[in-house]
Assembly symmetry: C2
Homo-oligomer: 342 residues x 2
C-alpha cells in the first residue's frame, strides 16, 4: 500500500468547522444538509483531494456498487462484445464490473463465483459454462440478484428464481434455414454446437421447423456436433461429407463455427459460398469481413451487454418478482456465403 | 440485498465456545491458533455456510484483494486474450479482477480509473488508450502500484514510477520486413496504426532498420496511417496504390489491420498472398485461420496477461524499486500471406 496518508471525513469536518455526522450526510446526499453547507464541504473535499471510501460505505450499507460478470469464453468476440456492453452500461451508472472467466469449465466457474461473492456484488451476470449444474450456482449465489445470459440453466424452464436474457435461437435458426431453402438448397446440415446445450437444442429445433414446413427432412448424419469454436469446427468439417448423400449447405451453430467450417471447406478444396453454402449466428464483427462475407443472424452482442446490465440494475433497485425470460429477436443478414447451389 | 441473515464471526465463535478473537485469528491463518482448534472452527464455518467477508477484512487491513484492469479495446482479440490471461493468473492467486474498458477514449479511461480506485485495488494494470496524458493517470492512481501494458505513457522514457510490460515492437517489425525482403520484395509499405503512438513509432523504426540494412528506402507515401482496427484498415487500403510507384507488400501495424487490408485488397481485385504480400503483428487466433493464413509475429497475448498479473502481484508483495521496462521478444510465424512477388 501507499505510505501516503488518506484524507478522512474527520479532516474535512475539522477544516469546515462541522461535525463528522454532517460531512457524512453530505456524502450520502442527504436532503437534511443546507445547500450552502453542502457546497462548502464539497469544495473542501476537492481542495484536500478526499476520495470517498466506497468500500467502507458499502460495508456499512451491506450493499456493493459492483456487479459480478462471469463469462464462459472471453476469446469469442461475441462474449467480448457482450462484456464491453455490460461494462459500458454499468460504468454509466457508477457501478464497477468484477470480471471472472470460466473458460467453459463448471469447476472454474464455481471458484470464480465464490471468489467474486466475497466482494458482495450488488448483482451477478452469468453467461454459464456448458454443463453447468444449476444447483451449484444457486448455492453460491444465495439471495444476490442473478441474471443468466444466453444459455438457460437446467431448471430454467420450470420457474427459476433469477432473470434470464437470451436470444430467439429457434426463430433465428428457422430464418437461416428458410433462407437456404429459398436459395434452392434441399440437402441442408446443422453443423456445430453441443447437443446438450439449451441454445443448440433451440437452434436445431428452428432448423427442423423450417425443414418440416418445406416438406424436407433432416438426416441424422447431418446433425454434427462440435465445440462452439473455430478450431474444433474446422477439424470436424469433413464429417459433413462422410455419408452417402452429401449436403450442399449448412446452418451453423454460431459464427465461430461457420468461420471454422469455411476454412475446413477451403482445406478440402471446396469454395465456401460457391461450392457450399454456410450461415452463422451472432454477427460478430468478423462476419462482415470474412471471405466470403458470412450470412448470419444479427444479435448485437454489445447492445445485449448493455441490456443485461440495465436488467440487473433494475432488479437491484426494485424488488419486483422475477419476470418471464427476456428473449431478444434476431435478424437475418444476407451476405455472400449463402449463395444458391452450384 | 438478500433478506437472508448472514452468518457472522460471532455465530461461529458461539457455536465453538471460543472467543471472537480466536475465530478471527483462524480467518487470518494465524500460527497462534492450535491446529485442532483451527480444524474445529473450519468445520463449524463449513457447517453454517460462513462466507468470509473479505471486503471487511480488506477494509481493516486497508488492502484489497482486487486488481483493476483497464483495457483500451476489448473487442480486439489481442486484448480479449490478454484480459483472459490476467484473470486466469489473478484468480489462481485468489485475487479478483475489476474490469474497465476505455474504448480508446482518454476521458472514459479517467472516469473508469476513478471509479475503480474507489474500490482500493491492490494494483492496476493499464493498457492505455491512445493519446493518454501520463499526468492524468499519475493523479488518479496515486501510490497504487501500476503496470502499464503495450503502449508507453509519454513520460515512460525518462524514468517513470511504474512498471511497464511491452513487446519488442522494433525487433518484430524488423523481422517481418526482413522476411519480405528475403522473399524478393523491394517496394514495401508500412500500413496502419497511428503515427503518434509509441508502439507504431517503434514498429516503423524496425521497418526502417530492415530497409536500411538491405539498402532500400521507404517512400513517404508508403507510410500510411489508420486506426488499429479492421474496419478502418479496409477503408484505407486503396491509399496504398495512390502514388506513382506501387508497393508489392505491406508490413502491417497489427493483425486487425492486416486482416482489414486483405479484405480491402480482395475488394480491389487483388488476391492477398498472391498479388500482394501482407504481414501482421500479434498472432491473434484468426491469423492462423484467415484465407490466406496470415504471416505474423507471435506475441502470445494470453501469456502476456498472465505475466502482467504476476508482475503486479510481485510489486504488491514486495516494495522493490521499479524495474526497467519488461520487453518481451516476439517471433515470426511464416504463413501463406507473405509469398514472393508475382
Amino acid at each position: 500500500m501507499s505510505a501516503r496518508q488518506r484524507v478522512t471525513v474527520e479532516d474535512i469536518a475539522r477544516a469546515c468547522g462541522l461535525s463528522r455526522a454532517t460531512v457524512s450526510l453530505v456524502l450520502r446526499s442527504s436532503p437534511l444538509v443546507h445547500p450552502a453547507t453542502r457546497q462548502r464541504v464539497e469544495a473542501e473535499m476537492k481542495r484536500q483531494g478526499y476520495v470517498y471510501n466506497r468500500a467502507a460505505a458499502n460495508l456499512r450499507r451491506r450493499v456493493s456498487n459492483s456487479v459480478a460478470l462471469v463469462i464462459n469464453d472471453l476469446s469469442n468476440p461475441f462474449f467480448a462484445e457482450f462484456a464491453t456492453g455490460v461494462d459500458e452500461a454499468l460504468g454509466g451508472k457508477d457501478y464497477v464490473t468484477l470480471l471472472g472467466c470460466s473458460n467453459e469449465s463448471p469447476q472454474r466457474q464455481l471458484q470464480v463465483l465464490n471468489s467474486l461473492m466475497e466482494h458482495h456484488p450488488a448483482a451477478i451476470i452469468l453467461s454459464p459454462a456448458e454443463n453447468t449444474d444449476a444447483r451449484d450456482i444457486d448455492r453460491v449465489v444465495g439471495g444476490t440478484p442473478l441474471l443468466v445470459f444466453n444459455r438457460m440453466l437446467d431448471h430454467d424452464s420450470d420457474g427459476a428464481d433469477h432473470d434470464f436474457l437470451g436470444l430467439d435461437n429457434r426463430g433465428g435458426a428457422m430464418q437461416a434455414t428458410a433462407h437456404l431453402i429459398e436459395r434452392g438448397h434441399r440437402d441442408i446440415a446443422f453443423f456445430g454446437g453441443h447437443a446438450n446445450s439449451s441454445s443448440c437444442q433451440e437452434r436445431r429445433q428452428g432448423y427442423h421447423d423450417a425443414l418440416k414446413k418445406a416438406g424436407l427432412r433432416a438426416r441424422n448424419e447431418w446433425l454434427i456436433e462440435s465445440a462452439p469454436t473455430r478450431v474444433d469446427a474446422c477439424a470436424r468439417s469433413e464429417t459433413l461429407f462422410a455419408g452417402k448423400t452429401k449436403p450442399t449447405a449448412a446452418v451453423c451453430y454460431n459464427d465461430a463455427v461457420a468461420l471454422g467450417l469455411m476454412l475446413g471447406l477451403a482445406h478440402h478444396g471446396l469454395r465456401p459460398g460457391i461450392d457450399f453454402a454456410v450461415t452463422g449466428f451472432d454477427d460478430i464483427p468478423e462476419a462482415a469481413m470474412s471471405m466470403p462475407e458470412l450470412t448470419t443472424l444479427s444479435t448485437d452482442p454489445r447492445a445485449r451487454g448493455r441490456q443485461a446490465a440495465q436488467l440487473v440494475l433494475q432488479r437491484v433497485e426494485q424488488a419486483t418478482p422475477v419476470s418471464p425470460a427476456n428473449i431478444v429477436p434476431v435478424r437475418l443478414v444476407e451476405r455472400a456465403s449463402s449463395s444458391a447451389p452450384a
